[in-house]
């Protein structure tokens, strides 16, 4: 009966992606949701499980990620996970999210900041919200930290993700917003150095006029799909910052975190045996 073939296949695929182990991880993540399984930002546990299943496959089989220092990630409480950004598509955010959600020392749901134009795109906006993505608004971050959530921040923003291959592993300017959030909400910062995402989508040029016309932050000349480069994640020790006296002091602290991330990247480059 061909009518039965499709759901059977879908069920099999679902069972393959959403393994009992994954169900256990998600179940152990402390995440208050309402009576229909949604939080105020549109996160939905069922959709998250499925997406995590797909992302976990990519994490293990495609990018063959190795993660070091996961024990540094606090098991509970407000947290900013600050990392370098690269690779045109936000694969680094996805892989970081998987590492945190499947952390053997205590899984956590980390919220990623998404571009402001996403909510206007049909389906995509809601889907990203369901997976935990939230538009990168400082008010959203403040509220989430107050609710003891973990947030992934890429302080380089599109300057980092959109840079060309020839600039790989050169940290771009860091915005200071994350440091203000950390200080105002007494949230510890866990720095992360990500190695390998630069090689997933090496861009040789940026078609800036076309990107502007399409309303995109950048449009790279790059492989159409991410290449299966090995990815190394290095998590540093958490750091807390007391309120700063001046903006100059804030910038100094931002530079401190940046230097820490640079050291974690260098460690990752040494740990990596081969690019692919």
């Amino acid at each position: 009966m061909p009518g039965f073939a499709k759901p059977h296949f879908a069920e099999k695929l679902y069972a393959r992606l959403v393994t009992p182990e994954l169900e256990r991880w998600v179940a152990s993540i402390p995440k208050p949701v309402g009576s229909y399984g949604y939080d105020p930002w549109g996160y939905n546990e069922d959709r998250f499980k499925l997406a995590l299943g797909v992302a976990k496959w990519l994490y293990d089989r495609y990018f063959r990620v190795t993660a070091h220092g996961l024990e540094h990630v606090p098991k509970t409480g407000r947290l900013l996970v600050v990392a370098n950004h690269s690779g045109q598509l936000p694969m680094d955010g996805v892989l970081l999210g998987v590492a945190l959600a499947t952390n053997p020392h205590g899984p956590r749901l980390a919220r990623a900041m998404i571009e402001r134009f996403f909510p206007t795109v049909p389906w995509i906006g809601n889907y990203l919200n369901a997976l935990g993505g939230v538009i990168g608004d400082p008010l959203n971050c403040s509220k989430m930290l107050e609710l003891e959530e973990a947030i992934i921040v890429f302080p380089e923003g599109v300057r980092g993700s959109g840079k060309l291959y020839k600039h790989r592993y050169q940290l771009q300017r860091f915005g200071a917003g994350f440091m203000h959030l950390a200080m105002n909400h007494q949230a510890p910062i866990v720095p992360v150095g990500i190695v390998g995402c630069e090689e997933t989508m090496p861009a040789i040029a940026n078609l800036r006029p076309l990107a502007r016309w399409l309303g995109l932050p950048y449009l790279p000349v790059a492989p159409p799909v991410p290449l299966p480069a090995r990815v190394v994640l290095n998590f540093g020790a958490p750091r807390s910052f007391a309120p700063a006296a001046s903006e100059a002091e804030v910038n100094e602290r931002v530079e401190e975190v940046k230097a820490q991330i640079r050291a974690l990247i260098d460690a990752g480059l040494k740990q990596r045996k081969s690019v692919f």
Binding site: S35, Y36, Y38, G42, R116, P119, P122, N126, D137, K143
Partner: protein
């Protein structure tokens, strides 16, 4: 003795008495307080001991009620919904009417005014953060001129709140209020068999049962802590799911280009339940942070989302059965 205690009772004027919410508020306050019921639509039938009037809030005749009764407090619930009357008439009734009411309250030494506003004032923008605080900018008038009156009522109330502290003004901004007898756009929409849903958009929404909202008004009235408060539960559901839970069938409406759903609504005259100027509220979420109200007044909704939706489900079943 009974007469003396009756005289000591505070007198509360409740506007919009014909509506489901005001009726419930009157029901809760009648007894401990002397209640005066007024409405702009009709002279409402009330229980014995509740004087009832039909008045137009922006007309001079409204003052006669203040002359006839020593009014201590006003609960201003009544106003034209966006789907009632034309924009100008609505502006007169809602904005000028509220101004007239506040001026009368000042003139006659009213010691407490509670104003029922709406979450629409925040505006449905794709850039809205979730859990909007009371101090978030009111962007509704950016979205559409049809909500200008709602924003202006708020700014008026705000001016009076700071200028005349003796009025003890409390502004409540509830999320979608639903339940038996509620005639707002969302309630009319979920009462239908077929509910329009924008393709590709599933904004989260918050819903309150009308009885819980009446309890919230009672709490705010009795607590008398002037200020602005969001009234919303800590529970969220995407609009298409709410539509299904209410037993409606989804009617997919193309969402691109953005002018298309508005044109469809205008052409098919869906003004009452899916008006063109509310289309963005079916596209982008406007999620309120109701913590300030909950902690200030110790109020918590008693009914769940499922309780609220089950009324609409049952309503459809009752209509379907012969």
């Amino acid at each position: 003795m009974a007469v003396a205690s009756e005289q000591r009772k505070k007198t509360v004027l409740v506007t919009g008495a014909a509506g489901s919410l005001a009726r419930r508020v009157i029901g809760r306050l009648h007894g401990p307080y002397r209640v005066i019921a007024v409405d702009f639509r009709q002279k409402v039938e009330t229980d014995a001991g509740i004087p009832s009037y039909r008045v137009e809030y922006h007309k001079r005749g409204f003052e006669d009620i203040f002359l006839a009764h020593p009014i201590d407090a006003v609960i201003h619930i009544g106003r034209f919904f966006p789907h009632e009357k034309t924009r100008d008439l609505r502006y007169n009734a809602n904005v000028l009417g509220t101004k007239h009411l506040l001026d009368l309250a000042r003139k006659y030494g009213v010691g407490q005014v509670l104003i029922h506003s709406t979450y629409f004032v925040y505006g449905a923008s794709p850039y809205n953060p979730a859990l909007l605080d009371e101090d978030a900018p009111l962007k509704a008038s950016e979205v559409t001129q049809d909500l200008v009156d709602a924003v202006e009522v708020e700014s008026l109330a705000n001016i009076y709140l700071w200028k005349y502290p003796q009025l003890n003004i409390t502004i409540l901004r509830p999320c979608n209020v639903l339940g038996p007898g509620v005639r707002n756009s969302m309630s009319l929409l979920l009462s239908r068999r077929l509910a329009p849903v924008l393709v590709g958009f599933a904004p989260l929404m918050q819903f309150l049962h009308v009885e819980d909202m009446a309890a919230a008004i009672e709490c705010a009235f009795q607590g008398n802590r002037p200020g602005i408060y969001n009234v919303a539960p800590e529970d969220y559901v995407p609009y298409p799911q709410a539509v299904e839970e209410c037993g409606c069938r989804k009617l997919p409406i193309p969402s691109i280009p953005p002018s298309l759903p508005r044109a469809i609504s205008r052409t098919l005259n869906w003004n009452a339940f899916f008006p063109p100027y509310l289309v963005n509220y079916f596209k982008y979420p406007v999620i309120l942070d109701g913590r300030l109200f909950r902690t200030t007044f110790g109020w918590k909704p008693k009914r769940t989302l499922n309780d609220i939706f089950s009324y609409y489900r049952k309503q459809k079943l009752a209509l379907a059965s012969p």
